[in-house]
Amino acid sequence: MDQQKEMIEGCVKGVRKYQDQLYKRFASLLFGICLRYTKNRMEAQDVLQEVFVKIYNNIHTYHHDGSFEGWLRRIAVNTSITNYRKNLKHAYQEDVEQAVIGKDEPMAVEDLEYTAEEMMLCIDKLPTGYKTVFNLYVIEGFLHKEIADMLGIDVNTSKSQLSRAKMYLQKELATISRVKMVKES
């Protein structure tokens, strides 16, 4: 804990050693968050760079009164949402196109364990709008009202996007389950 405090204070002073320490410690975790909200790895890398720039420039505003990791996560999520809203026009076109696929009858999810990579593959296939709502609701734990405010959409839109995302993911997980069963047999 003292080490973390020292690292934060070093970052406030702009000491490169501590900045590198912070990067090494949290880059992977924050990259995982960025990957969940973006369309591809390249975009996630760009967002991650912006996240760290924001962290270093605003670390003096962190007053040790909450979880530092939570603070970092929040910056990563907010930066990802800003990036999503920046590309909203393009994302909307993609949503409409992908929504047709999502109307398929969902298949039941088998009682199987999935790896993080498999789940990431499923999430990657989601349209950006669905992906964002799903991440904010399921993983970050925001309410529909908060999500609607953050994304500038209606509460009902948030709910319907989550519902469609769920159907889409169930279908994808079922496909993965079938492939796994075939491999096992």
Partner: protein, 204 residues
């Protein structure tokens, strides 16, 4: 509902702490972006765009000032080397000789008065066709270089000039600045409060 919760829990547990490997290129890109963001932000303790901008402005200001001064000096120098002062010597009605221009490198005689002056280069030469005229000399350092000559000077170093002589100027040697100089001499005369004088006609 149970199935939905299970699905959500599965995703949450797997992805909440999902930490894939970060490509090495991200770090260098992040450093670049960080440097740029800090460079664009004012900070009293580090070099940033505000300091660079101020330094550039100061440099540009100094350069402009020095170039203006240099240009002015060059202009003054070129003018001083180009302007040819034409000394005009006249005799007033009471018989005294008057120098009407500000030339300072000539010798002349007017009646009984002889004088040597130095200070400016002159380009007027004796008229070839009339055999008499004004020799203004062309050396600023030659104190005794003759400038006024009626062709019958008593001494070649001290050409003489008579007010009754017609002053002839070789127009081939006269530069365009001559009218300005005469105007200047007139202004000087006005400033001194001297009355207008009549002097021999100068043919160009």
């Amino acid at each position: 509902m149970m199935q939905e919760d299970r699905l959500y829990n599965q995703f949450k547990s797997q992805l909440e702490n999902y930490s894939p490997e970060v490509p090495a290129a991200v770090y260098s890109g992040m450093r670049r972006k960080l440097w740029l963001s800090q460079f664009l932000k004012f900070n009293a303790t580090s070099l940033n765009v505000w300091y660079v901008g101020t330094a550039l402005m100061l440099g540009a200001g100094l350069w402009l000032t020095s170039s203006n001064v240099g240009a002015t000096a060059q202009l003054a120098k070129s003018h001083s080397s180009e302007i040819t002062y034409v000394p005009v010597v006249a005799q007033e009605s009471n018989g005294s000789c008057v120098q009407l221009s500000s030339c300072a490198n000539y010798s002349y005689s007017c009646g009984d008065v002889k004088a040597n002056r130095m200070g400016c280069g002159l380009t007027m030469m004796p008229s070839a066709d009339s055999g008499k005229g004004v020799d203004l000399g062309n050396s600023s350092n030659d104190v005794n270089s003759g400038m006024v000559s009626n062709g019958s000077s008593q001494n070649s170093d001290e050409p003489s000039f008579s007010p009754s002589d017609e002053v002839v100027v070789n127009t081939d040697q006269i530069t365009n600045e001559q009218p300005k100089v005469e105007a200047k001499s007139e202004v000087e005369n006005k400033q001194k409060g001297k009355p207008k004088r009549t002097y021999p006609v100068v043919k160009y």
